[in-house]
């Protein structure tokens, strides 16, 4: 293989033969606090060679599956709607080609682009959302498109009862009140996740993982660290249930690698990416 080709470790299938596609959406244009998630996908690819292709958790190996790494989308700066459209178009193409996908953010708003394509293809789509934040604001300093409004926007696509939120520990009061009516929000931890898995068996599911659901001790490299999160082992426990579901697409977002000089955040993101790939294929 060309020495200069850098994919996520083990994801070197050709597009045509691939069952799934990894791609990057390096956008952080609406980040309200500390930006830098644009460097997330490149960091995950670059550091993925520090982990193994084999998972002792599920006894499977990335060499056993066929994944194409599509690289990063060439997203512009300063034009949010155009960015979302580019993501939506790319995701729609993957779905048309019968590829599951793992989108690497970027900030959480990238989910909206992918969801627009996914909801069109799967009208009965459910969303599993792991996050520290509700992301249910109506707007942020006057903007409706924001990483803090993304789940409200997604809700406009899916309607009530389709968004299953876990680990949530921050938001404005009205967001939590909205959630009581319209989403299934689980505060603080992942308790109740196995129940949700049972409930969603057989349905198409989009899994959106904001890595700040992890406690900042395990994942300091993010824009808005929020103390009191889940441990890596708790997150891994939930991920290891994903194979019971029909995950048609997913994203892993909010790694801002420059805020973690030690590199442990990127290393954690790499391992999570590997496990998710192995679960959904």
């Amino acid at each position: 293989m060309n020495k200069n080709v850098h994919t996520f470790i083990g994801c070197d299938a050709d597009y045509d033969e691939a069952d799934a596609v990894v791609f990057g959406a390096p956008f952080d244009g609406t980040t309200s606090f500390r930006p830098g998630t644009r460097f997330g996908p490149a960091a995950i690819r670059g550091e993925s060679f520090g982990i193994e292709t084999y998972s002792p958790y599920c006894d499977r190996d990335l060499t056993d599956v066929k994944v194409f790494d599509g690289g990063d989308l060439d997203l512009p700066f300063g034009n949010t709607e155009r960015v979302l459209k580019m993501i939506e178009d790319y995701a729609a193409g993957l779905i048309a080609d019968k590829k599951r996908f793992i989108m690497l953010g970027g900030e959480h708003l990238v989910t909206l682009g992918a969801m627009r394509a996914a909801v069109r293809a799967y009208p009965d789509l459910h969303v599993i959302h792991f996050d520290a934040h509700t992301d249910l604001r109506d707007e942020y300093i006057g903007e409706e498109l924001s990483h803090s409004t993304v789940m409200k926007q997604v809700w406009k696509l899916t309607g009530d009862g389709r968004i299953h939120q876990f680990g949530i520990r921050s938001g404005e009061k009205y967001e939590f009140e909205f959630a009581k009516e319209h989403t299934k929000l689980h505060k603080f931890d992942l308790d109740g996740f196995s129940g949700a898995v049972e409930e969603l068996r057989g349905k198409p599911v989009y899994f959106s993982l904001d890595l700040d659901v992890l406690d900042p001790s395990a994942f300091p490299g993010t824009g808005t660290p929020e103390a009191g999160g889940v441990s890596f082992k708790e997150l891994m426990g939930a991920i290891l249930m994903l194979n019971r579901l029909n995950i048609v697409a997913c994203d892993i977002n909010e790694l801002s690698p420059h805020y973690d000089q030690s590199g442990i955040s990127t290393a954690a993101a790499c391992k999570i990416t590997r496990e998710i790939i192995l679960q959904i294929l």
Copy 2:
């Protein structure tokens, strides 16, 4: 509001109407290892805008309470006694005006200044002390006033049986032996805290929180990180009991923000400050 006014988030009441006062004591003059806690209060205020005013833990909001942020005391460098006197005078003024207060350190010795005022006002005062260290030394390189002697100095004010220590995991042997006779010291974790809460109900209590009681994984930005501490969730669990007590004053100290490039320590301190305010009012 003036664009340049920076208070702790949501603490924008006028002094006269306020029920409580937040103020900073940016002193680190006796720090024995890594200094820098002088930057703690400014960091907590500056980063407080990265959290919300609403707490999903207790379902209350900082907009529901009246707190004045008095800014930082203008403390000198190199004159420990003068610093303690300035803190004592400020604290005494607050108590005279019937304000509860939340002092943001600085190093732990600042507690002594505030305690001198508090003990005078509340002769039957009890102290709840969360810390990694006993802080019961007699002196440090010949100095009786030190962040490592502060609880011994406080004991001289309160006498036996009034200091309730939790999370302690470091000290010299004679300090632990002293504690057996004179304080109520709980090693390693917060076990027994709910019992202490029951015991102290109705009595005036000073709560002194050395943030290094947290495990360094959750709170690396401190001068003397001590492995084996409590998790953020354990600390939060204890804080959520504080509303059962009559906390007349408290302090939150030993954040040294420059030692944590990721900012998770300051973010944790902000959240703890919010929760303590909401508990004691």
Copy 3:
């Protein structure tokens, strides 16, 4: 003064009495490489207390002039045109009130907002532009509004021969060719600046300082460090000539403080801000 009011050091005049206004434009939405200049104005204010109000360079003191610090504009995330409009409106108000201003960026595109107001007020406005980069691109990944296109956009406002560029050492080939026809571009250093000062005497001038004109050794904390820049002393030499000109407005931009753990970039920006204020008043 209220303990919690943080202005740039010495800039504590009331708006009405002020001859000049400092304000922040914390925007980095089109930054193409490393974001973070949104934290620039707050860092400059916060660290300004590490310098003195007195300048031994020009033997003047900030206590001798009247400057109001207007704080930071509350700019949204993800909507470039709206940001520019807010900056333009604020700048227009200052000009209407006969205030000179010093805008603290943020990224370099903020200049466009201020220039829109300034050109309207001063149709014969000239621009002095210190920068490592030409900033004369037509677009960046399809976007015409970018920190790499800002001087092309400014040129559309001013026309040929009005933009005097110094220190330029990076750009695409067509940008340098454009400059030959339309701007007065001086490559690599500030040679020729005293000539430009003579030429512009008496005319209204907007001074736009991209701090990356400095060599990265003196100013590492920026998004796109470009080796081979001018030294701090060379830059200071040029700034000390500004009092010969009629600087009606200026900006100081592209400090990204988180990329410089040592803090020397912010400290340099503080000193430059002080000297510019003292020169233009």
Copy 4:
């Protein structure tokens, strides 16, 4: 004592009177990812003065035992076999002089040098191995001597059933399969350790502690951080059982201090070193 003598805190016995010897093996020549463990032993000594000599965990004090700190071996760069020989010779000398030893790495391959001496002296030696990684590769880019092959090399010395591995969560598939046949490997955590302690009572044991067995949240300063590790408290719980065993030698390795600007990794290593010394003497 000479002001310039730096030993691990409390380890200031003369060689002749000492029951145990601490020494450094600052080698990182086969590190496959991020090097820098060569700075481990110096960092542990230098920062050891930030902890106390007294352990509240086991109520013993380093002042109660006699340990000599032999400093760092003067190891060459670029010659792996020569390094291993120097370690082996030094270790053999200690064993001949009836000293137990605590070797501070350096990378994990240093264990091989010490084990060569130890196995010769104790033919029935067992190994307790705490690590995130199996370290059972056959070779790494063609080299048989590597920090990722060290336990395979040790196995060649000890034979089947002598290596007790705990906390393992990363490796290639064939390594885990090898372990099923030839070592006693416990995945993910330290469960089963007390059983192993019972089994090994009375036998000579070498304890090899790769600090990356800790979760990266507690120990970010290492070359290959591997999420999902044990907590500091879990590790401490296991260490506090070591006094039931006959630990003839041990090593503590893989601290790479420059990757942790906060210093919590070094602080944790210091505390672990203290506790291990107090357990094995």
Copy 5:
């Protein structure tokens, strides 16, 4: 082009059509102080997209030349001689194919591998060596192959009077004395370089650039920073003369990117790499 192909910016020619080849030699196995140059080539490639393909210094563009980026050699860890042999073989292949090359280190010893191939092909080869250090030791802790002995080893290949050293400001006394007899050593700066260029016109020349010839202010990210070096502008001035010479091969080494959180060292290395390519083609 494949989204995941990462070459040095603008170096995307096919091997067959290329006039020159860039490749990485990510070796730091003999580094005596702070390791990490193994990450140099990847950092240079990754950050090269922060600079432009066009050079305003020589008015040429990387799009005007044909360069192939061969990626990084897959070098082992812990076996110095094998590493040198792999470099030698690769370099010999390039020379046989009539390609000039630019090798990106890695530490300075990699030069020896390339020089073995180059001297064989060009028996009358001269070496231009920019460095802070003499690199003329006989051995380092007993090892003859070291980044501190590399020029002594090169001298064994070339003989007297062929090595032209500039910028040297550190070494043992006997190294400077050796240089008086056997090399042409210029202390402290690049004075005399234009004379050397005149002297070497028409002869085959190997250019070895240890980036620590730069002052640490301009290039902090290196293993052994040595104050008092040349400025970036001085180095650039010398590089701009290289087109007068017949540079058959060159290397750029000793970037250790993790020691420079600001990234200015890597950015400088990228720009230097661009300029050298444009000069030698």
Copy 6:
């Protein structure tokens, strides 16, 4: 030599035979901005092994002179006067024993302790003071003993015309006015230093080097970085004149190593220490 003895490189003479003594004064108790100079002396010793004993600047070697390294004084925290007394007593002992000394700070106030001893022994003592700051304040937040008042305090010992200040570029206006009457202050650079050397030939001189006289680009690791300083080469040029003077004592202060992750500040301080030792002996 004992493996654990850490002296400044090459300073391993016995006290009795030594012509000069290096010692550390790790005090930063009055630092007004960023503390941490307490770690300066240990950093200088620890990193001194990254430089050579030989100086190509003056063609001398530390192996040619006899220097004792006395380690660090065991200074208390929080008691400024006691610290100064300990320094004074130690310095007085050295002078009584006919040892010249090089004191490694710590902050600049440590000079006062040493000067008290030196002035008593040499009533006609002159002071050469290199610094960014005048250090001529009357007090700082009410304290007369401060690193910003130290030269005013020294002036009280020496009287008018004895303090020769160079490189000064920051202070309050009244400090510069005081200097016009009472000291010989040279603004911004070291111009005029050779004249001062001629004037002081034969007289006893104390040389006090605040390393922040260097430009922050060359020396970022200090508490109060002040842009516009001298280059390392300019400083070295001045130091190389010191051998014409009778330097009876000197100090090198204000290195705060934790603020420079790259380590170039400490490396520069090591080299300066070596050169000063070689000049004054």
